[in-house]
Symmetry: C2
């Protein structure tokens, strides 16, 4: 019956870019792996919430669990608090389906203008492994006397040895397979002694099992600086939930556009489906104009094809994206051109052949 994929286009530019990702994945899977992909489009979004009072139906999680993967656009709309849109769909999904690996590659493609002086195509080539289920994003805390002059809020990060070790192992496993075999663990234990202290303990324990990987530890503030000063020095980077969030927007910026930043939210055990989403979010300011860059979604679909063990298809999608970008004839506004979302999708499908 092929691979069953749940599709949540969501809000804003989400559905626009996901449509192009589907086209690219279909074309590649058919040609390179003779694989059948079935797409189950689910209308869960802010609009759905406004109609039903829920971001997804009561049996929504069960529905999703029946799929082999989830292709996700974005959620978030100015008319509804993030506490609903993000906190009732995106963040619980990462936890419920134990998608503890958030993989976010950053690569400087030929044809993409780099905001940094003197960087050659391919010079920046890193994989960021972001912890995706705990740490700073633990939904723990509260507000006392909210909205008064006496208001006090606590926000508690919870780190577990198991949670940190498993993301570190995923990152080390990836580093081991790459030519440079470098890994940088991001910390801030000089200030956040308890939480990041545990992270460091886990790092020291796990690195012993990877003597073939050159690993070191770097403070998050220094890392932010080095992503600008010498991004080419990084290979695999592993970071907590919050630090991974900040650093991957930065890695997207230095590689030219958030419109190219893809991500995989992976449950490596495959007990629950993994989810693949562009990093950019719903971008309400450009939604509905048909000018969003679909390549972040297309590259996220490539990560999905990897996960479905359709490696040839995944590589074909990435090669097509590289070809289109290098040719430079078709560019969305974020890349300095005037192409539409669909034209960019057309170009990728044509390049897949």
């Amino acid at each position: 019956a092929g691979h069953r994929i749940a599709v949540i286009g969501g809000d804003g530019i989400g559905p626009e870019v996901i449509d192009q990702a589907i086209r690219a994945a279909e074309a590649a899977a058919k040609k390179h792996d003779r694989a059948e992909l079935s797409w189950n489009k689910l209308p869960w979004s802010t609009a759905f919430y406004k109609q039903t009072g829920r971001m997804l139906p009561a049996d929504g999680w069960d529905t999703l669990a029946e799929h082999d993967a989830i292709l996700f656009g974005a959620v978030g709309d100015p008319s509804v608090p993030d506490k609903i849109t993000v906190h009732e769909l995106l963040l619980p999904m990462r936890r419920k389906f134990d998608q503890y690996v958030n993989l976010r590659p950053a690569y400087l493609f030929a044809g993409v203008p780099c905001p940094l002086v003197g960087k050659k195509p391919g010079a920046i080539d890193m994989l960021v492994y972001r912890e995706n289920t705990e740490g700073e994003y633990a939904p723990i805390g509260g507000q006392l006397y909210p909205q008064t002059a006496d208001e006090v809020a606590i926000q508690t990060s919870v780190f577990t040895r198991r949670g940190c070790e498993r993301i570190l192992r995923a990152a080390f496993d990836a580093a081991r397979k790459r030519p440079r075999k470098l890994l940088t663990s991001i910390t801030k234990s000089n200030a956040l002694v308890y939480g990041m202290g545990l992270w460091d303990h886990a790092f020291e324990a796990v690195r012993k099992d990877y003597p073939d990987v050159k690993s070191n530890s770097l403070l998050v503030d220094a890392c932010a600086m080095d992503f600008v000063r010498k991004p080419e020095a990084f290979d695999v980077v592993v970071a907590s939930n919050l630090f991974g969030d900040i650093l991957t927007d930065l890695s997207a910026a230095v590689t030219g556009s958030i419109g190219l930043a893809s991500s995989a939210n992976v449950n490596p055990t495959k007990k629950f489906p993994s989810m693949f989403e562009p990093v950019h979010g719903s971008a309400p300011d450009i939604a509905g104009k048909g000018i969003a860059n679909p390549l972040a979604a297309v590259l996220s679909a490539a990560l999905m094809l990897d996960h479905l063990t359709l490696a040839s298809s995944a590589d074909a999608v990435r090669a097509a994206v590289a070809t289109v970008l290098a040719a430079g004839a078709v560019k969305t506004p974020d890349l300095g051109g005037t192409a539409t979302t669909t034209q960019m999708g057309d170009a990728v499908v044509a390049a897949i052949g």
Copy 2:
């Protein structure tokens, strides 16, 4: 009796750069404000800790409290845990002396190579106001079953309405006095709903008192991206303790060198002394070589002169730094030259005249 300044050179390059800062401040204060500065050099550092078992004497805080300002180099040494060096001197000082405003300017000087494509001197000109006493740096949390497979750590951020409002007001007051009158409040309340939610409440309340300032709210991840994409869009930025830490290393990177990043840790009530320190830290890798850039310390001393209401002297120091950088004849290695710390100090003193 003039202005009594406590000097803590501290570790690594701290004492080297502070010596040049003292020379520059002396020269300017004498010439422009006929002011006398007295320097009380205190040996508190990792070496002091190794001799005495403490980072500072039992009456150290009382000693500091007798001064009008504190000029601080850096603490931190690979041979002693940060839990001691940083947590028994730097971080408690910020809290004990209620230095709740951490002001960190970022300016692209003429003559300084910018890592970003196409930025003209002066194009980047921002003041970051970092909350300095609470939030993510609250020393609250712990580790259960440390160093075992069952280890769990909690790290609790505590935000108070009072604490957030006062740093926001300091930032709005600064924005009001600048030509562009722009303020950006950094948040992450889409994920950290409790703590950053309080921050947003405080922002919404305080901004009502500043109708003349154009203010908006930006997610920390988007801000990290925009510091690379369009740093010229920022004027005054106000952020929590942790976000301010990360963003100011980034603002230092995009303005050319952490060797130029100055900071003021201010208690605006003047009930306790304020403290002035370069952002760069002890940099053990280059300590003792005499090649550290002293300009971050020199510019921190300028912020100290501002605080001591020696505005002409402060301006003279900044003008001298700008002159030396623009001339480009004397450059430390971080700026692409071969000058020593002392040569750079000489050049500044000469420019003060």
